[in-house]
Amino acid sequence: MLAYIVRRLLATIPVMGVVAIFVFSLLYIAPGDPAAVIAGDLATTDDIARIHAQLGLDEPFFLRFGHWLWGVLHGDLGTSIFTNLPVTQLIAQRLEPTVALTLTTLVVTIAFAVPLGIIAAWKAGTWIDRSVMVVAVLGFSLPSFVLAYVLILIFSVEFDLLPVQGYVSIRDGFVPFIEHLILPSIALGLIYGALVARITRASMLDVLSQDYIRTAQAKGLANNDVLIGHALKNAAVPIATVIGIGLALLISGVIVTETVFAIPGIGRLTVDAILRRDYPIIQGVILVFSAAYVLVNLAVDISYTLLDPRVRY
């Protein structure tokens, strides 16, 4: 087991290496002088020269990549062109709202989507199953920011039940913290929930047609015991996999959701960085999000052994 974890950890190195090379090369892929693109249309030659110096664009590619990688490995993601603050510090400052939003969404979505998928599979072919599947297809089709505005209009503007925008830290009270996260979590979680519910249903349908389920039912076990004890346990691996892979949807959604709900997280930082063409921040954010994605999927891989005793490494 330990050997497997070490092996998998080592396997993430080339993947993150490719990400690092790609993120770094982006500046060079762009046509023309990247410093001129970053500086914008109204820039003076001094501005362009300053960005050239700040990003070290005059140095040879490999030398600059070496410097940059060395910095990244030591937790230095560069310096923001606009604020002159270290990117690591900017990301650390904005981490809490993003982690809070992502975790709340993850927990709420899984708490709803997995049971819905199970019920849909259990009642396959009935109106319950069809309703869940219709909601799932709608969930795939409704862009998160459109849903976000609809939710704000209904629950905040029309009925004044929840705050329109903003973020309150958990340190300033649990109730306002949750109140501010309810609508963003629903908007962000719908597409993810749709994916998880569909895979849960598909996976459960596969398991429910197995002989041992019929045996469990024949020996008089209660429905709940059959579903949870026998079926869900065996359907857990694909569900865990999609929970990990689907995290990419959450990360993509966070950027837009934070913009709509004015949440001062990493997503908002990214959008501000794009508007100011603050490239070191964009590079830093991509690296951090990709690392988080790779690590979560590594954790999911490792969790297979806990979910399914037949999986041995």
Binding site: I21, I29, P143, Y149, V164, A248, I274, S290
Partner: protein, 291 residues
């Protein structure tokens, strides 16, 4: 005048075929119809009672929907109805463009990596790396350093979608390569390219076609997201994402600025997803039973 039985039978048979199709695949038919309407809107936008979507009229700014302005006007007095209808062109161009380019490139990469071990080792490591960057973030990174244009949006989203198609095709090729009919073809002396063309490629079309529809839907959402956060289609081109981005500041008092383009975008994505689901069910009945 006598009517030949065949003349009566033909329309009756056609009607029955249509009825059967609707009964057996209601969602696909609904999806195709919505999609057809959207394509019609995109193509015929200038003839559907629209005015110049870029025409600015400050005197008429932020008007609510009325008989004169069906979807109201925006902060510059531009007609939202005209802008929304013209916006269909951008979404569909991006959706279809990305679906086409990413499948063609992904197919080529998947076929090569499925057959060549060296190419597989190198290219798939690059693909794995690209796949670990969430697609929207990858597209944002590419767009942040290029001039905003429709072509660059298509290119940026295509690059973020290619690894998924390549991985899918590679998987199919790897399993096909071991199939007896491919081995038999090789043993019979069929050339490499002929085997690829006659035996491997046709078998990858079905899953790639299904994947293409989902890429099309996802590309339309990504384009809207990019435009919404200011990293997509240039502001002078009316796209659904742009219209919503411009309406963002007013949405509490003028929700129609977000609602109308939002409905069009959601309906189009829903239509493509329904067609994709239907295609998957038709091409893989085993999966259809489960999904």
């Amino acid at each position: 005048m006598a009517v030949a039985p065949a003349d009566i039978a033909a329309p009756v048979a056609r009607r029955r075929w249509l009825r059967d199709a609707v009964r057996r695949h209601p969602t696909v038919i609904a999806g195709s119809l919505i999609l057809l309407v959207m394509v019609g809107i995109a193509v015929l936008a200038p003839y559907l009672g629209t005015i110049d979507p870029l025409h600015v009229a400050p005197v008429k700014r932020l008007r609510f929907p009325s008989e004169l302005y069906w979807f109201g006007t925006d902060a510059y007095g531009r007609d939202v109805y005209s802008r929304t209808l013209y916006g269909a062109r951008v979404s569909l161009t991006v959706g279809l463009g990305v679906a086409l380019f990413s499948t063609v490139i992904g197919l080529a990469i998947g076929l090569v990596t499925g057959f060549s071990r060296i190419a597989d080792t190198i290219i798939m490591r690059v693909m794995d790396g690209l796949m670990s960057i969430p697609p929207v973030l990858l597209a944002i990174a590419l767009m942040a350093l290029t001039k905003a244009s429709l072509g660059n949006v298509v290119l940026a989203i295509t690059i973020s979608e290619v690894p998924r198609v390549a991985r899918l095709v590679r998987g199919v090729v790897l399993s096909l390569r071991e199939q007896p009919f491919v081995e038999a073809a090789m043993a019979a002396g069929t050339g490499f390219f002929r085997t690829l063309w006659r035996h491997i490629l046709p078998n990858t079309i079905a899953p790639v076609l299904v994947q293409a529809t989902f890429i099309c839907a996802s590309a339309m959402i990504t384009e809207a997201i990019l435009s919404f956060i200011g990293a997509g289609t240039p502001p002078q081109i009316p796209s659904w994402g742009n219209i919503m981005a411009e309406g963002r500041s007013y949405f509490q008092i003028k929700p129609y600025l977000i609602i109308f383009p939002g409905i069009f975008l959601s309906l189009t994505v829903l239509a493509v997803n329904l067609v994709g689901d239907g295609l998957r069910d038709a091409l893989d009945p085993r999966l259809a039973r489960r999904m």
